[in-house]
Symmetry: C2
Subunit: 415 residues, 2 copies
């Protein structure tokens, strides 16, 4: 009797279920360990991916199916963050967010280009590595701040707003670099890409919320059991697709969808609980998948390891300095909060590197180094973010999350 | 400039996102329409799949990725149903559920075999078609009853219990049929398959709940933000994998996981809300995917259409009569509730047919007919289930869901 056949009416599905079971169990185990060590749970979950992935145990191999689920994870994470974000609160910090984004793009790009060139990279290779250093993955920071209940502080809102602008700038840079690598730069094409991204983002940010608020009474008359949840999920997927087609990261669309829904309903709390369920289920796959991207076996040559470490340091320092400087005028602690909040490159950096590899522009060694940088920055930032956002307000020896009021009370403009 | 490349940092992911967006939007639109027509939303969502799928618009093609998400959907649906089911309440109806399951397996199998043989099927072909007629997909019924808030009636519990036993019997039959088709029947092998399935199910059903209750205080000391939700998800995936490896459907494992968690925590309500979010997001993909399995273009020959319709009628009538008879001793309405509740074959019937096709045992025409039967039974049952479980108790012209008390008050033993 052909056991595996009868057994796994669908053997492949069973294999995927097993992969996801391992990932989820490992993630939660490591999150527990890290929480007990008073370290951010996200770091534990990413390390879980390093452990069960190709670097160590090899229990789970990265696959298309897993990466789609991972992308869902970060999409719903940003949608959920958007639900907690009122559009005005982002517009209020708009100018500062723009400064943070621009400074946080220019400095890493310039430094990344020079360091890669110095390490023997070609012009194109160096351009791509520079582009990979630009892109901030706001998912990690949002996760850390969200789990501390601090998404509504001024610096959190600056980080979120800057991440949106950062992504558009990153798209423009990536478009330029890609078209240079294919030997043709069309100014018209670039303008179109940039224009579409800008118009889409502004349109959704400005009109989206009003439109949804206008339509809310219609939704409320729906016969569906959970109309706002259904509309929210549809909008989340729809705007993710739309932004991906325009060229911005899908998570930006998801974030905008969340913002558009943020004020739609009295029932927002119930809907938020439901979307939290989806997010909490999917986010571990996003985090573990980042860890699984790292395959330490590629680091055979010492020079690659050294370059990877140098690149990581450059990535960390330039983002902190650039974004921190962009937040000039805030207290020193707040500038540091913004700077460290923009450090993780996560999946966005990985995607840029993959495009470079796909175009045949960057070599395997440089690709490995960029991958290392993307994962390492994502691991380094959370402990600092957690530290910078906590302070022992009540003097009991245990740091408490800083709320807006705490900041102005205890640290107002000390910088 | 290579737009699609720069754009879709991951073109494939974007395509999948688009598919899911279309499926979700179509599902909710059709659900709304069907609710307004006072018809079950599930029927609307399955028809959404027929509309956007290969049969009509061809906007979305069935794919591996979609079918994995669909399987997740039904897994979490059954987990969620399990969360509302106390183990004792299933054991209480155990004997009756067993009778329902056995009678509801024998009659469809015999009738399916004979009708396929009469239609010119070979011995093996007829055996496989008979096996496909056996398997009940409890997901659809659970969905309809759950949305009416009627999962806790006696007949609902009989249906759930019978579905578990039905699945084990279906596995045994499928094992026999598969091994016959490969020319070797090993009694030892069959006993092993059947024994493992039985032991696993009983063990989890009996020990699972107690073990989880014993461990609950430990879980409560976890530092995770939502420890019971995390444990629940891990257990759900873990037992789904385990049952799939043993050969029972993954949904049985998920259902048992839900039952095991049902009493674990005071905080069950909050956890249930979170899992409801996951379920509500994923279930539409399960329903739409069933509709997408149907490709009406295969029905070129009239004889295939006629056979498909006859097979569907046989599938419906034999389940109603068999399961209804198994519920002998209840009121006539309750017997009908149980009978119609077991009618949908859904994804389980499709899987059996796919195995037959994979083994090269059943031809394309018979496969098409079985697929039609699986989808049609799934579409036919819900309106009857809804009707049989509602009655105009307060005489206002609008049928209300029957609660346990209503049944004994108004219809007690009328049969």
């Amino acid at each position: 009797m052909n056991i595996p056949f009868v057994l796994g009416a669908n053997v492949e599905h069973t294999a995927i279920l097993l992969d996801l079971f391992i990932m989820l169990a490992a993630a939660k185990l490591m999150a527990e360990v890290f929480e007990r060590l008073k370290q951010p749970a996200v770091v534990g979950e990413i390390l879980a991916g390093v452990i069960v992935g190709p670097s160590l145990l090899r229990w789970v191999e990265p696959s298309d199916m897993i990466s789609v689920l991972a992308e869902f994870g970060v999409i719903f994470l940003l949608f959920n963050v958007g639900l907690e974000t009122k559009p005005q609160s982002i517009f209020q910090v708009g100018r500062r967010a723009a400064m943070v984004a621009v400074a946080g793009v220019l400095l890493p790009f310039a430094a990344g280009y020079l360091i890669a060139l110095a390490w023997g990279g070609s012009f194109l290779e160096s351009m791509f590595i520079a582009a990979a250093l630009v892109a901030t993955s706001v998912g990690i920071t949002a996760r850390v701040l969200g789990s501390m209940g601090l998404l509504d502080t001024e610096t959190s809102r600056i980080i979120l707003g800057a991440a949106v602008i950062d992504d558009i700038l990153g798209l423009i840079i990536l478009s330029i670099v890609s078209s240079v690598s294919q030997g043709s730069v069309s100014i018209a094409g670039l303008a179109k890409t940039a224009g579409a991204a800008l118009v889409f983002t502004l349109l959704v940010a400005i009109v989206g919320s009003r439109l949804i608020n206008r339509l809310a009474p219609m939704f409320a008359r729906s016969r569906l059991e959970r109309p706002f949840f259904a509309i929210g999920m549809i909008l989340c997927l729809g705007l993710s697709v739309a932004s991906a087609y325009i060229g911005v990261a899908a998570i930006i669309g998801a974030f905008l969808a969340g913002i558009a829904m943020a004020e739609a309903t009295e029932d927002n709390k119930k809907m938020h609980q439901l979307t939290t369920g989806v997010t909490e289920f999917l986010v571990p796959f996003f985090l573990v998948n980042i860890g699984m991207q790292l395959d330490v076996s590629v680091f055979r040559e010492v020079s690659v390891i050294v370059f990877a470490i140098v690149l990581t340091l450059v990535a960390v320092i330039t983002k902190i300095v650039g974004c921190g400087a962009g937040a000039w005028g805030l207290s020193r602690r707040e500038m540091a909060q913004v700077g460290f909040g923009m450090v993780p490159r996560g999946e966005v950096g990985i995607v840029v590197a993959q495009i470079g590899l796909g175009l045949g522009v960057i070599g395997k060694n440089f690709f490995a180094a960029v991958l290392f940088m993307a994962v390492a920055t994502t691991l380094i930032a959370p402990p600092f973010i957690k530290m910078l956002f906590t302070v022992d307000t009540d003097g009991d020896g245990i740091p408490d999350p800083i709320t807006e009021i705490d900041v102005s009370d205890h640290f107002g403009r000390i910088g």
